[in-house]
Symmetry: C2
Subunit: 333 residues, 2 copies
């Protein structure tokens, strides 16, 4: 008997700056209803799903941006989502901007802000929380950019690592669930840390612009979706897991987000893909037993990995220039 | 002025068990001549390019396999290759089975065997040597397999790490060159260690069967080339480098090798692809300045990597099971 899990990416179209959480939550509840009709057991919503992608807007005083954050979850505004999950027996993944009154590394309790995602049981319990580690963009206003990307301004680097939990879900019984957020998906280190915990399902939300304002060189716009899919497909293949990657899509505050949400299997194949820039539900039946193939053969980590050769991955952050070879000198290596 | 380097993958068709090194070297010299006519400055030959892929053949006594190894390079049999390189001013990458009388980790000098590649200057000097780290397959005869894959029997794990050297080449002046061998290409750790040394050109040879005898489950044969390309394209994109990936192709000793050599740019795009299962030269002009784009934006490692979250990558070899979530328990993360 296969461990079959029916999952959905619940892509959201744009949320304009003026629209309240009630609008977004209402649309998410309708996607949850649609998911129920499609027999879905796990729904994945995007990164920062409750508002517009506010890191494109600059505030000199960071506290002025606190209105984009959630001090509590559920709240009056997000309660309908939790109610729909309970009604339909669906677990869900939600990205949001989190404010926490929490001790920092010095032990001082203070207001901290993270780009966060939670995996919530149908009963409304948070089974797993993750805070984004790979924050892209910049911390200060950049006058050379037509659109800002201020994630490094508004969020601290996530301090929960890349956790995985074996969570009870649907007919499959249990699934080893982990999470990434947006830019994390481009970093093979993040996928591997999940893979080393036997992750079977990676849930990830993203808000990715169609234009990279930082890349003034060779990067062609038409490769942006390819790069996203390439990273997700490689991550799934090389870690023998499924992924549900859910976009916020379309033109939001005048900025185009590229959409193209996908569900990927442990062979790196795309099982389903969103093709609109609007609210859209895509679904797939995932046979979780597929994860065992890669994990026991090509990617049997215990048999094949060689950590003694990987020291630079944790031993240095930035890259270093290699030595220059001199004719007549000794070979490198 | 761009740093343009013209590279080639010199794919080899099958080399049968009965064929001597003179046959293989003669074919390689003809590919070198063709490369010269195409203006090529760096030629990449496959893994274990001088003989059939002998790890499919079992010898109870490992020393009986020593005839497949090179005790010296160049040798009388390989000298024509070095002469052609000198004649045409072409640097080349060659994979071969290496025997070395060398001290092991205990200090004992003994006969050691590695799956090795070298990057040789037009003058015949070895600028970089690499010994394969990720050995696939198994060490003992496996009666359940119709074809053996005994790399773990015949070779020791490479002990040179993943070195990179800034090597003088052609019109570009210098290139940061690194190497992988075959199965290494599936391991993002290996690519990242090269990327952390600012690699611009990854040279890699492979002998990959069209059928994975180990995978008796869900892996479809038609995905084998996809998986190879996926890993190489992701490695190039995520480390902002070019790769020349060269196959031995076709039916060798009754076993099909899937070919499909490729040259990939730092955007992860395939620039050239071999489409035969025979000796075939594919070429591309690589603008090495393209590597700077990724390295200074999305993959600016110093700005964006978070090694404190990557500890498991070197802290453990195999995977570990995640904790089971208990309803009413605390959230993980």
């Amino acid at each position: 008997m296969s461990r079959m899990l029916t999952v959905a990416a619940a892509q959201l179209g744009p949320i304009q700056k003026a629209e309240g959480r009630d609008v977004a939550v209402g649309r998410m509840v309708r996607l949850m209803e649609r998911a129920h009709r499609r027999g879905v057991e796990v729904v994945v919503f995007p990164e920062l799903a409750l508002t517009t992608f506010f890191p494109r807007h600059y505030h000199a005083d960071i506290a002025e941006a606190d209105g984009w954050f959630e001090p509590a979850l559920p709240s009056n505004e997000t309660a309908p989502l939790f109610e729909a999950a309970r009604k339909y027996g669906i677990a869900f993944h939600l990205g949001y901007a989190e404010i926490a009154e929490e001790a920092d590394e010095t032990g001082t309790v203070r207001r901290r802000r993270f780009n966060t995602a939670v995996f919530v049981s149908p009963e409304g319990e948070v089974m797993l929380k993750y805070r984004k580690v790979h924050l892209p963009g910049h911390a200060e206003y950049d006058p050379t950019r037509t659109v800002q990307h201020l994630e490094k301004r508004y969020f601290e680097v996530g301090n929960l690592g890349f956790p995985v939990v074996r969570a009870p879900v649907g007919q499959a019984g249990e699934v080893n669930a982990g999470m990434l957020i947006c830019n994390d998906r481009r970093w093979p280190e993040a996928w591997r840390v999940l893979g080393l915990q036997q992750v079977e399902l990676v849930m990830l939300g993203y808000n990715t612009p169609s234009l990279n304002m930082e890349a003034r060189g060779f990067e062609a716009h038409h490769l942006r979706v390819f790069h996203s899919h390439l990273s997700i497909q490689a991550g799934c293949y090389q870690n023998a897991c499924f992924a549900v990657a859910t976009a916020k899509a379309g033109t939001e505050d005048g900025c185009e987000l590229f959409g193209h949400s996908i569900i990927v299997n442990p062979q790196g194949e795309i099982m389903a893909q969103a093709t609109s820039w609007d609210d859209e539900l895509i679904t797939a039946d995932c046979n979780l037993d597929m994860c065992a193939l890669g994990r026991s053969t090509i990617f049997n980590f215990a048999a094949h990995r060689r950590p003694e050769a990987y020291g630079r991955i944790v031993g240095q952050t930035g890259s270093v220039a290699p030595p220059v070879w001199q004719p007549g000198g000794a070979a490198r290596g």
